[in-house]
């Protein structure tokens, strides 16, 4: 069988696995965005305790491997609470990404010049209105490209969830590699799927970025 025949033959299995990978990653990133924004807000808070908690959280999460985090959540929690692989994987990915997203959001807000906040406050805009009309839109423009690359990393990192038995893309390629004795072919094919997802994602981010950067053209 040729590479192309394998590609066509495995398509139904890999497309189903793509659906699982996308659902898993999207769920994880949705949670990660909320958690990350929360941690970012804590890290910029005037309350010292909140800043320490945020710093500690980011330090621990960024300082340990994702695969260990997935295993701890899956095997650790299942002793007390049986978490299905999908949720163990999603939550581990979410927590992991939230630490990086928190740092991206924080640096985005810190990139907004203090003078613009002062200009907004000095015409009588409240703190909240200044956030909504000036700081958040400008922070978003700084955050978006970096967030885009974090999303791309998250898609590829989701392959580690294969090791707790989720039938997502990478797990599917492992199974097929074993059953067909064609590891090289299957790992090449699965790489193409990841590449396709990443390309589409990149395109979407670029388009959004383009729309938000009207002021620089």
């Amino acid at each position: 069988m040729s590479f192309f025949e394998y590609l066509v033959d495995t398509a139904p299995l890999f497309l189903e696995a793509t659906r699982i990978t996308l659902t898993l990653t999207a769920t994880a990133l949705a949670i990660a965005m909320i958690l990350g924004a929360l941690v970012a807000a804590m890290s910029m808070s005037s309350v010292a305790v909140l800043r320490w908690i945020a710093t500690g959280f980011i330090g621990v999460i960024r300082g340990t491997p994702l695969i260990a985090q997935i295993f701890v959540l899956y095997f650790g929690i299942s002793g007390v609470l049986l978490l299905p692989a999908f949720w163990a994987g999603s939550i581990a990915l979410a927590v992991h990404n939230s630490a990086y997203i928190a740092e991206i959001v924080r640096s985005g807000f810190q990139s907004v010049p203090e003078g613009l906040t002062e200009a907004s406050r000095s015409v009588g805009m409240s703190q909240l209105k200044t956030l909504r009309r000036v700081r958040a839109p400008l922070a978003l423009r700084a955050i978006l490209p970096v967030l885009g690359s974090q999303f791309i990393i998250a898609v590829k990192d989701s392959s580690l969830v294969a090791f707790i038995g989720m039938p997502e893309l990478f797990r599917t390629s492992q199974n097929l590699a074993a059953s067909t004795y064609q590891p090289l072919t299957m790992y090449l094919i699965v790489s193409l799927y990841y590449l396709a997802i990443v390309l589409v994602l990149t395109l979407l981010v670029n388009r959004l970025e383009h729309r938000l950067s009207a002021h620089r053209r």
Binding site: R121, S122, V123, R133
Partner: protein, 259 residues
């Protein structure tokens, strides 16, 4: 200057005080920046603050609208005492215009939106009315054709004129200028000073931190020389800028002469 103009120039002093600062002490950590400063500015007056850098001119100006907090003393603006409560500060600030050295236009908004935002969000003016006011002010600063541009596409002088229009759109009682021409290329200073002079001639109450001695001579009713954490000399421009009484005043003038 005609005698009538001179009389008008003096008339400011007869009016009510718009800004009244008493015994202002400002510290950054352990460093005292302002040590018991008094400043009273009446309606229609143009006061120019001069002095060496680090003398606290900008800090004093920024205390007036609460961008800097004072440790001791009292500030009254338009009859109301300044207290550091969010709602009250927003209200007071909407009545005080401020123009910054770095322009600080909102880069993600078109020129016109820079000028309409606070009109709509703070004064609750309807969009149409806010736009009409913005267009009127853009015409006044000579930038009608730039309404749909983004600030980054404007020269420094144009940006500063938009910033002035943005402040004026709030119909402020008093305008604060914090070194409005210091970040500009020399050939762009004139257009900004021209707008400021017109504003002064129209009777706007202005407090200006500036190194532009020509502006001080031409437009100021009163010049204040700041040094050593306070005001060391004040009076009409011809006195402070030509025959100062204090040693600090003479020394400062001497340094300017060396330029």
């Amino acid at each position: 200057m005609t005698t009538q103009e001179a009389a008008e120039k003096q008339s400011g002093h007869e009016n009510e005080p718009l800004v009244e600062m008493r015994g202002i002490v400002k510290r950054f950590g352990d460093t005292v920046v302002l040590d018991g400063v008094d400043l009273v500015v009446h309606r229609g007056e143009v006061v120019v603050l001069i002095g060496p850098s680090g003398a606290g001119k900008s800090t004093l100006l920024r205390c007036i609208n609460g961008l800097e907090r004072i440790q001791e003393g009292t500030i009254h603006v338009v009859g109301e005492e300044l207290v550091y409560k969010e709602k009250h500060l927003n209200h007071i600030r909407s009545r005080i215009g401020m123009v910054f050295q770095a322009f600080n236009l909102f880069p993600h908004m078109k020129v016109i939106d820079n000028i309409t935002m606070a009109q709509q969000d703070v004064l609750n003016r309807p969009r149409k009315e806010a736009r009409a006011r913005a267009e009127e002010l853009l015409e006044r600063v000579g930038l009608t054709e730039k309404a749909q541009e983004y600030p980054d596409n404007l020269s420094g002088g144009q940006q500063q004129r938009v910033a002035i229009a943005r402040s004026l759109a709030m119909d402020p009682e008093v305008m604060l200028f914090d070194e409005p021409t210091s970040a500009l290329d020399p050939e762009l200073v004139g257009e900004v000073l021209q707008v400021m002079r017109t504003l002064a001639d129209e009777g706007m109450t202005m407090i200006v931190v500036s190194h532009e001695m020509r502006f001080a001579r031409r437009a100021a009713h009163r010049v204040m020389l700041m040094a050593d954490k306070g005001i060391v000399e004040e009076g009409p421009p011809e006195q402070v800028l030509e025959k100062p009484n204090s040693e600090r005043g003479k020394a400062f003038l001497h340094e300017l002469g060396d330029d």
